[in-house]
Amino acid sequence: MADERIGVYICHCGTNIAGTVDVEKVAQRIAGLPNVVLAKDYKYMCSEPGQAMIKQDIRDRKLNRVIVASCSPRMHEPTFRKAAQEAGLNPYLVEMANIREQCSWVHMKEPEKATVKAIALVAAAVAKSVFDEPLQMREVPVTPAALVIGGGIAGIQSSLDLADQGFKVHLVEKTPSIGGHMAQLDKTFPTLDCSACILTPKMVDISRHPNISLLAYSEVKAIDGYIGNFKARVLKKPRYVDESKCTGCGLCAEKCPVNVPSEFDLGLGTRKAIYVPFPQAVPLRYTIDRENCLYFKKNICRACEKFCTSGAIDFGQLPAEVELEVGAIIIATGYDLYDAGHKAEYGYGIYRNVINGLEFERLVNASGPTSGKVLRPSDGKAPRSVAFVQCVGSRDKNANLYCSRVCCMASLKQAHQIKEKFPGAEVSIFYIDMRCFGKGYEEFYERVQQEGVRFIRGRVGEILENPDDKNLVLRFEDTLLGEVAEREFDLAVLATGVIPRADTSELQSILKLSRGPDGFFLEAHPKLRPVETNIDGVFLGGAAQGPKDIPDAVAQAGAAASRAAVPLSMGKVELEGIIASVDEDLCSGCRICESVCEYGAIKMKEKSGKQVSSVIEVLCKGCGVCGSACPTKSIKMCHFTDDAILAQVKAVLRD
């Protein structure tokens, strides 16, 4: 291997690296290593002149290996690989040494030690590069269809955006209807347009769009494959109503004798055992709730079946599995509401007049259980005084440290609605900070101030209930005055935070996604790749990525659709060249690799009279688990070979 010609490039990264690591010394030391033709340091390797220098050297100095010591390969490996490729060098002959994130930035107070470490890291990259071999990317075709999981506003937006571009979209929604949380809201801040009025046309568009196939009341159970070629298994839960026959007339529900609390109305109103969640549901098809249906419980009734004129009731319906083939996936599963019951000091779930913000939305909504009259749950009276308690479950280390972003504006909007309906009512918002950062938000805050809503800077300590009239006593400090106070209110609305959906971890393990410390799905890069995930071909739309209000959710969903459209419209994608390969002469056919491969990428085959393993290249994801399990070492993990890693181990520990 004497003909390796290695060029090493040490990046200053401005002062990010050079401020701590003595880059010149690193270059000097590395220049003395065998096979190293040149070692240079430069201000910004990733800059145009930096890249040009590398390209020039590859050509002029006949380099066949390039080492860039700079930031994390997770940041700029693609950049330098591309540069090398442009100069005619196989991109897999570029190695990076991470001397920024894993050296200069974490040892800022120990420059000498950081320099020694940097030398070791670069030397290890040099040692490994000798064993690097040129690899080829594999090109695979893309199925021009997308799977969108979740039918809230984000999922709806993503689906429409992709479908309008001509791609087939499968929209899977867990509940009987699409619409999500937005369908439950009354008016939306800061414009006060009616949530249903702006949402329902989009829902109808979904149902009518020729490119969209809607799978409501369905759940994604498994996803296999890779970008361009995913296979999803979706379970269609039985509605016990034939969707093709149901006309949505509602006669069945009218005749159904069973009343149960309505999920859509958060238990404030009721629905029947055969139901649509809300009148504008899409698809407008009824669903029998097996738990509460008298037929399923006691084998009696069947009223719906008797009265259904189209014969749509089918008690014998079974769950059905659908397999979908798609090229990209958008996750738009949304959020759950924090359970305010955890903050026992506020008495939610115990005091009837303590409600959460979403419950308020149902109370104030004309189609809600009180027909839009905001009445206290305890006695149905109009409240004369209402308190909004902010940051319940948000900005709280004992619940969720993050700010839920929507609650300040939601409470402002709700306070405004109280003032609108009961101008004489005393309305107070108890807050830590009012966060009104969106377009038109601060202006809305000002408007609500003018309407006479009282703003009290102090997080509420506790709420007590007066046992006689069920009025609520709030204990708080007006921190701006330093005064302790107790004040009585008729109704308290808790601005409960937004949390990841309860089933997030299920979807996480189905797709192998990462989650942030807040529990929401993690984007590939917080700034530059906000809708991508670490899985190629899987994108995030809406609040599945973090708390968002409607404009942000729609924007994120649109962005996700636009990113997903890239591979879909290319028609093909390139897959990593880093895969396993088998030396069939050495392989003894012991079948251990076959057992450990999670992707079924290793199959046994016959080769000159013996059984040997072979790698199915498109299925191989390049993890290398087989390589370290292979007792004969006949599996070579390309780019991460035993020889390469052992060379790295020895080099990195040398001094």
Binding site: K397, N398, D433, G458, E462, R475, E486
Partner: protein, 182 residues
């Protein structure tokens, strides 16, 4: 206040003092939450003492953050906290409020800022191993209820009393109390 408030310069000295003293007992990472206080007022809103006294625990935390030593140490409010932990339990930043109160009191005590009434308790403890004395009436009641007249504590075992006195001489507590007594 020695200086006019307008001229005060904030410093982290007091916060650091509280940290370093407290860390001998409590984990430092717990106490570090002091820096995270956002002055939301949950503590004061929850404080049963603040409803009847001038104690504003939030202001005290702020005072420590700003390094206003006199204001924090020399206030009667410092001794109005019943250490009921309600503020600490509800604090959204997990600030170890009650523990910090105790540490600040330790500093005040060392500097002779404790109340005379408190020193009575400390003296009782040093002299008997108990915070309150045993009187004849108590002995009688004990006997009546079938208990030994003197409980088997340091009151019954002088060597036990000698032990804790030895400990308190060594660890300096004795001196703190006696000096304050003067």
């Amino acid at each position: 206040m020695k200086d006019s408030k307008a001229n005060r310069v904030p410093s982290w000295n007091l916060a650091k003092e509280v940290m370093s003293r407290g860390a001998r007992i409590y984990p430092l990472e717990d106490l570090n939450t002091l820096y995270e206080c956002v002055q939301c007022g949950t503590c004061v809103g929850s404080c049963p003492s603040g409803r009847r006294t001038a104690l504003r625990i939030r202001s005290m935390i702020r005072g420590i953050q700003m390094g206003y030593r006199e204001e924090v140490l020399d206030t009667n409010d410092l001794w109005s906290c019943t250490t009921c932990y309600t503020c600490q339990e509800r604090c959204p930043r997990d600030v170890r409020v009650t523990e910090i109160v105790k540490i600040v009191r330790n500093i005040a005590f060392e500097e002779g800022r404790a109340k005379e009434r408190h020193l009575v308790v400390a003296n009782n403890f040093i002299k008997t191993g108990h915070t309150i004395p045993l009187n004849e009436e108590g002995k009688k009641t004990r006997v009546k209820l079938g208990l030994s007249p003197v409980p088997p504590t340091s009151l019954l075992f002088p060597e036990a009393l000698a032990e804790i006195q030895e400990i308190m001489r060594t660890d300096g507590f004795y001196n703190k109390v006696i000096r304050d007594k003067k």
